[in-house]
Amino acid sequence: MSKFIVIPSSKEQILNLLDLCDGFILGLNNFSVNLPITFSLEEIKDIIKLCKSLQKQIFISLNKNMHNADIDELTSNLVELSKLDLDGLIFYDIAIVNLNKKLNLNLKLFWHQEHLVTNYYTINYWCKNGVYGSFLSSELTKKEILDIKDNTNCPLMMNVFGFIPMFTSKRPLVKNYLSKFNLQDNSKINYLEKENNIYPITSTNVVTVYSNNILNLAQEINELSEKNIAYFVFNSFNIESSLFKSIMLLFYKLTNENQKEIFDKINMLLNYKSDTGFLYKNTVYKVKKNG
């Protein structure tokens, strides 16, 4: 049975969702990107204590691109995290694989180079090289996902609900724009608009642009669960807390109630601004013949 894992937007939300999910992905201050909130190590310890008492799982996502200047602090954080009761550490930068091995930290690593986790050969390569699981790219078709599952024993995670990060940059693009044209804006989140599509854009330690629609794989969840995808990830970013809770409740009921009615309810709650991402959509990359 696949587990429901939530990327929370606040501590309160964690408390509110304890009955509706199997665990959480948490970010660490200064070492995590593309998450709605990050926490201090002390806060993480408190959350772990609470969650473990209720048999919930905890994954830490240290998913920023690490610069040399980050390495010392990264090392001490990894050592601290290795002492905690974690179910996995999600990484982007390969420095983490190296440190985990060199320091014998035995962290259960999950490979999540966001858009690069695209085939089972490379997933198996990482499993051979000290990695425990993989968090699949969102740009895969359902067929590709099922092929991967059929060809690896590595536990898989995948996004099933929420806005999906599409772009991560070190360049302070919004700040520069405001500064260039002497504009004032203190928004916590901005949006980019193009042809009536609205893309959330955040500027924290990096700039992140998210998909315009909410990924919603409600109709696929049971089939994917039967294939033993280990973890389904629900991202609460930019979704009002009570709405997110209602959605989680509906997903939770998907296995044992009238599914059609639940799909309709979810779509209605989302105001029909959701889609199935790339599940049924092949991307192309060669648009003309040679010569």
Binding site: N65, M66, H67, N68, I71, D93, I94, A95, V97, N98, Q113, H115, L116, N119, Y121, T122, N124, Y125, W126, N129, S138, E139, L140, E144, I164, M166, F167, T168, S169, K170, R171, L173, V174, N176, Y177, L178, S179, K180, F181, L183, D185, S187, I189, N190, Y191, L192, E193, K194, I198, I201, S211, N212, K281, T283, V284, Y285, K286, V287, K288, G291
Partner: protein
Amino acid sequence: MDKNLKRPELLAPAGDMERLKIALLYGADAVYVGGDLFSLRANAINFSKEELKEAVSFTHNLKKKIYVTVNISLHNKEAEKIIDYLKELDKLKVDAIIVSDPFIIDLAVEHTSLPVHLSTQQSTLNYEAIEFFKNQGVSRIVLARESSREDIALIKNKIDIELEYFIHGAMCASYSGRCVLSNFLTDRDSNRGGCSQICRWDFKLLDENLKNIQGDKDFTFCTKDLSMLKYIPNLINLGVDSFKIEGRMRSTYYVATIVNIYRKAIDEYLSDPSHYSYNVEYEKILRNCANRDSIPQFFDGNYGVNCQYYNGRVEVSNQDFLGVVLDYDIVSHLATIEQRNYFKKGDLVEIFGPSISSITFSISKIYDEDNNVIEIVRHPKQIVKIRIFETVHPNDMMRIKR
């Protein structure tokens, strides 16, 4: 030449055979090309197996090197075909492959004798990640474009591995590999070579209440280009092993010009570092060639407000390139030129090439193919003769003098 300084490799892009030859003739020490599979410039012309064979032979005859990019993010289907392709490249004796997917490193090490360079798609920024890849058999790292001067110095100090660093060209606005705008907005897969450059589109920027925040221009992601011309001495002193020029989709003129200028700057510095002086004229030529502003990106400090474009920019195609020399008659002093852009009698022009320093002159006489005197050369690929009193050579190029 200062014997304490290492001569870096000048590495140029080659989108096809013509550009490969031009890049090498104009002074590149090595070129990188895409095969017809697994390359991140899926829409460049790229090289078939037969062409690769010819390219390797041409390059090796000049005692230079050729690297092949195998740097897409593999999906299941593509991964099935990769071993045979790597073995083929090995047989062709290319000098290295440039990969981003670590699975390919493993295959190359196990099944071939190909040296492996790690693509910038991995955005490698730190010595721990580099140590991992070195232990896997990677011999060179193409550093992330976000790397600074301090990053390079520290990595050089900690790990004995070749470093390749971008010195010129267009840049991704994101960390490389961390952008799928193209996938979401146009269904074209950026990490498999289909990038549709959404970062150059314009958008409305809205606040948290979805109210328009309107500057004089719309919002774009678009960054200025990279140019490290000013920092050539710094990069050589840091011990960077390979200086990479971006642009497998660029024109022959672009490749010739950029390679030519960096070749001169590198050689001039190495020949006498203590008396080297920065040549502003070179900077002007580079700027005119690309028609875009350039900056040192993250090498020397923060990425501030002047590092980006803010839309409304008119990108005029480059008209500086006037023609290419096909032949020169030493008796009549007539050079045969194939036209690339409009020019006329009286224009102040410059001819440059791999074996001459540039020659500047005003065009005095122009003859057509039937030896009639003409004043204007307006037709693409038109063959004309012009009088030049200094010797020029086939493949030299003529540009307008600014």
